[in-house]
């Protein structure tokens, strides 16, 4: 039986992996939001009965989003590696993992955004239309602002989902906590590293969720009595 990895070493490994995870997931979430929110808005406003119904475009977008979401991440990761190379210049490491993480998350975000926007009452949107507001104005001041708590929640959910996806990014040598748990904890039977990785992953998810819930609540002006 081999000696346990000393705690100082475990600490160092986990610290480094945590940094990788935060970097990959953080950057990927930012890009996913950057592309996913507009796509979700487009999906929503082109829907039948939406602000600007476009049957064909809506179907096309819907198809793209659903196909994107149906793809298992590990397959997406490998399948788009030529694209990854073009975008990030490499197919290895954390920077290379950001590309498939983003591509995987964009349709996810788009669907969540579409759902969040549906929560805005049609009467409210129509009332804004009757004030003579432009479509851009309505998207910005009504749809996005009214559903802001839901949107923040959607980004939080995406972040957590990407933490999960990022475990597979080890395949392209991206590092991160999931990769650490697989390589040390699973393949080398290193229980200390396994447990430490899991604990930090769990803590990360809890903190992210708590933070996003809090921001969502701060943004929400509904049902607050005598504020």
């Amino acid at each position: 039986m081999k000696a346990e990895t000393p705690w100082s070493k475990v600490f160092q490994l986990v610290l480094e992996a945590t940094g990788d995870t935060i970097y990959m997931v953080g950057v990927a979430t930012v890009f996913a939001a950057l592309f996913g929110v507009p796509l979700g808005v487009l999906l929503h406003v082109t829907a039948p009965g939406g602000l600007s119904p476009q049957r064909l475009l809506h179907r096309l977008l819907s198809l793209v989003v659903d196909v994107g979401r149906s793809m298992p991440f590990i397959i997406l990761l490998l399948a788009i590696s030529p694209f990854t190379k073009v975008v990030s210049g490499t197919t290895l490491g954390a920077d290379a993992a950001i590309v498939p993480l983003t591509v995987g998350a964009v349709p996810f975000v788009a669907r969540l955004v579409d759902n969040a926007l549906r929560e805005v009452d049609a009467t409210v949107v129509e009332a804004a239309v009757t004030t003579g507001a432009s479509r851009m104005k309505i998207v910005h001041s009504v749809l996005l602002r009214e559903s802001a708590p839901g949107l923040v929640g959607a980004i939080g959910v995406t972040l957590v989902a990407l933490v999960g996806y990022s475990a597979m990014a080890g395949v392209v040598g991206a590092g991160g906590l999931g990769d650490l748990a697989i390589r040390y904890g699973y393949q080398r039977y290193d229980t200390r590293v396994m447990i430490a990785s899991i604990v930090v992953l769990a803590a990360l998810v809890i903190v992210v969720q708590f933070g996003f819930d809090r921001v969502a609540r701060l943004l929400d002006r509904r049902r607050r009595v005598n504020a």
Binding site: V124, E126, T130, T131, G132, A133, S141, A227
Partner: protein, 341 residues
């Protein structure tokens, strides 16, 4: 002033075609309040949505101060929408914005400067009696207060027409009174033309100058409320007290009840003088006994209107009824059989 001309709107479903509006025409003069009433399914909501420029009619015109708004699109349509302030049915406020923020929305669309906006918003909140609620969010306001904010928002863009779709449908009587008071004030102080779509006859009773009755997508009656009540019209029967219930004289005791009179008639009286004095005067002048058997008094805007069922005994009963007619009362003679039926 708003004019609706020959509006037609059909909805096509699977194999079925529903004619929601079948040639609706209306005219609401500047600074007056017109109520559009009708049963559900009569086409009220469709008319409201067309006038709000949310729905495009198949044909017809909607003119505000003479300009047809139906055929417009793009920026011209958005500009046209500012000429019609809309109070939609149901809760329509942005829940993430304060009352002031909601009222400011049309001003933002119109590109008003920030300072100007603020002044105008406060002015409007004051008009609807909510100056102290500028910073409150919709969820902190009562239903009636939210509706008043919606009215202030509709007025913010200085529209010449205000359209209110069932503005009192979810409100209790007291709140209804305050909301109607605000609409009346908007007409009086800003001179806007008000079109109210409602199923509630009490709204018509309280603030409408004109009324249009919609039935199966057509206007079956349209005119001044006071003119219509003086005629045997649907509006009259819906607005005035019923005459055959109050005294409890059912057909069973018609012999004992109605039998002792020489004449039975339903009399409608409009205005203070008529309501106050016409019946006793007819009675004394012609020496007939006159008994009020049913009906009652109501108020249409500021005018008292009465509708009574009267029984007359005496040789000159007919002359007394003619006298009432000559002095502006509306008399419908009834035979005993009609009354008993």
């Amino acid at each position: 002033m708003i004019t609706v001309e020959n509006l037609v709107k059909t909805f096509r479903g699977r194999g079925e075609t529903l004619v929601a509006l079948d040639g609706v025409s209306l005219e609401v003069p500047q600074g007056t309040v017109c109520g559009v009433v009708g049963q559900s399914g009569a086409g009220k909501s469709t008319l409201a949505r067309c006038v709000a420029l949310l729905e495009k009619p198949d044909s017809g015109a909607i003119r505000v101060d003479g300009t047809d708004l139906v055929s417009l699109g793009g920026a011209a349509l958005r500009a046209a929408r500012r000429r019609i302030g809309v109070v939609p049915q149901g809760d329509s406020l942005l829940r993430q914005r304060t009352a002031a923020g909601n009222v400011a929305l049309p001003l933002e669309s119109a590109g008003a400067a920030r300072l100007q906006r603020r002044a105008r918003v406060l002015e409007l909140l004051d008009l609807v009696g909510l100056a102290d609620k500028a910073g409150a969010y919709p969820d902190q306001l009562s239903g009636g207060q939210r509706q008043r904010v919606a009215i202030a928002r509709a007025l913010a863009g200085s529209p010449s027409v205000l359209l209110a779709d069932e503005p009192t449908s979810a409100l209790d009587p007291e709140t209804t009174a305050s909301v109607l008071g605000v609409l009346d004030r908007a007409r009086a102080e800003l001179g806007v033309t008000v079109l109210i779509v409602t199923h509630d006859m009490d709204v018509v009773r309280r603030i409408c100058d004109d009324v249009a009755v919609l039935e199966k997508g057509r206007v079956v009656e349209h005119g001044k409320v006071l003119d219509l009540v003086a005629r045997e019209s649907r509006t009259a029967s819906a607005l005035l007290p019923t005459t055959d219930q109050i005294t409890g004289l059912s057909s069973v005791d018609s012999e004992r009840g109605y039998g002792r009179f020489d004449r039975i008639a339903d009399v409608t009286l409009v205005g203070f003088a008529a309501v106050g004095a016409l019946l006793p005067e007819a009675s004394t002048r012609f020496g007939v006994q006159l008994a009020v058997l049913g009906g009652g008094l109501t108020r249409l805007a500021d005018t008292p209107v009465a509708r009574f069922r009267v029984g007359l005994s005496g040789d000159r009963a007919d002359a007394a009824l003619d006298f009432i007619t000559e002095h502006g009362g509306v008399v419908q003679r009834a035979t005993r059989e009609e009354v008993a039926a």
